[in-house]
Point group: C2
Chain length 235, copies 2
């Protein structure tokens, strides 16, 4: 079986400090503590809330949550589906950057180490293990549309959102995934609040909500991938 | 329905700096960065590896991973089962301390905030919301045995470990949980490597392994609780 299921953590709240808040004290202080230049560090609402407010950053409510992206990645990369090379994972950020996750990546569980790795990636664009294997790659100016239609080219695109059609992970996966056909791309939001843009919605062939609560991305990922493993008999 | 399912994150790698490494440079430097006294901060292998090695800390391979406890808690506390007050969560640490999780706790997703909350808990032993509601409580000298037999008093204790009987979350939950009877305590290890002590194993009525891989605690938690929600029709 080839690696055919794709997970795209979309409109993800992972980015470097935007240039217009680079001089804000909350940013310069935080950079100093990390021993980095302000231009290198990740936008993080935990530290840069004041800067984000005062600069009236566009779509501020969806931005600056690298911790959510960390959880979503940890969840996906801890599954037997990923260990068996049946899952390809991408992060498509709110500023149209794409992070490609290599199959050998052991994502750091410690947040400061993850943060350090992302800072390194945003600087070097390519993190290798030894001479050949790619652990992480970053590209600028790749829209979600292009990632899906030019790179992943799945048979079906399935989005998850509170505004989708009510269903269950079990029903969704048994409807769309089988051992003979599992070339699906799952689109899951990597932001703290708000909804997908109309553009993201338009890219989805199906759009589902699972359960009555607004679930965290990592919970949706855990449930969907677990149901995929059942259908594909991954152990 | 009363809150009848219990999850105990056991032998958890969450503790304050042990007194015999309090003067080690890796500890004092880290405490300074956090703006805390060395005696107040959490043991964390990411920072205190050298101190843990040089002091020959007992069971060092199982200790100093508050990040794993953070993930396990985030996973459990993000489920509709918890939102519906059907799940009680406990952390039973490797040094016989117990953290009781209140039903209104919104656990910080940002690791530095979680770390700050835990440091506060280890200092004050009780974190309240307003005047009454308990968010977190800490007790010293409570063994896992006493937590289970004197506090939780479940009908069944079900442990999860690589060395258990091979099964699936679906089979385990449909065997042991029903709408009429769900007073189970699940025991899941909150440590990075190694196995449960003989004492923990003895407390389990059933002992299962799910899948062929050594799964992270948060993955086991996600799958078990999701299957509980199915059996209990929680949405």
């Amino acid at each position: 079986m080839t690696k055919t299921i794709s997970l795209v953590i979309s409109e993800a709240a992972l980015e470097k400090i935007p240039v217009n808040i680079i001089d804000h004290p909350s940013v310069t202080n935080h950079a100093r503590k990390l021993g980095k230049r302000p231009s290198e560090i990740l936008l993080d609402r935990s530290y840069h809330h004041a800067a984000m407010l005062s600069s009236k950053l566009e779509f501020a409510w969806k931005r600056g949550r690298p911790d959510l992206v960390h959880f979503a990645l940890i969840e996906a990369l801890s599954t037997p589906l990923f260990f068996n090379n049946l899952l390809q994972v991408y992060v498509s950020t709110i500023s149209n950057q794409v992070v490609y996750i290599g199959e050998n990546l052991r994502i750091p569980k410690s947040y400061p180490r993850f943060e350090g790795l992302m800072i390194d990636l945003f600087k070097k664009y390519h993190i290798r293990e030894g001479k050949n294997a790619t652990l992480l790659k970053l590209q600028n100016n790749v829209s979600l549309d292009s990632l899906i239609n030019d790179t992943i080219k799945p048979l079906k695109v399935i989005g998850f959102s509170r505004t989708g059609v009510q269903s269950t992970p079990e029903n969704i996966i048994s409807t769309h995934i089988s051992k003979d056909s599992c070339q699906c791309a799952f689109i899951i939001g990597g932001f703290p609040s708000g909804h997908f843009t109309e553009n993201t919605k338009r890219l989805c062939d199906y759009f589902y909500s699972i359960g009555n609560y607004s679930l965290e991305a990592h919970v949706v990922i855990a449930r969907i991938l677990y149901e995929c493993e059942k259908v594909l008999s991954v152990k």
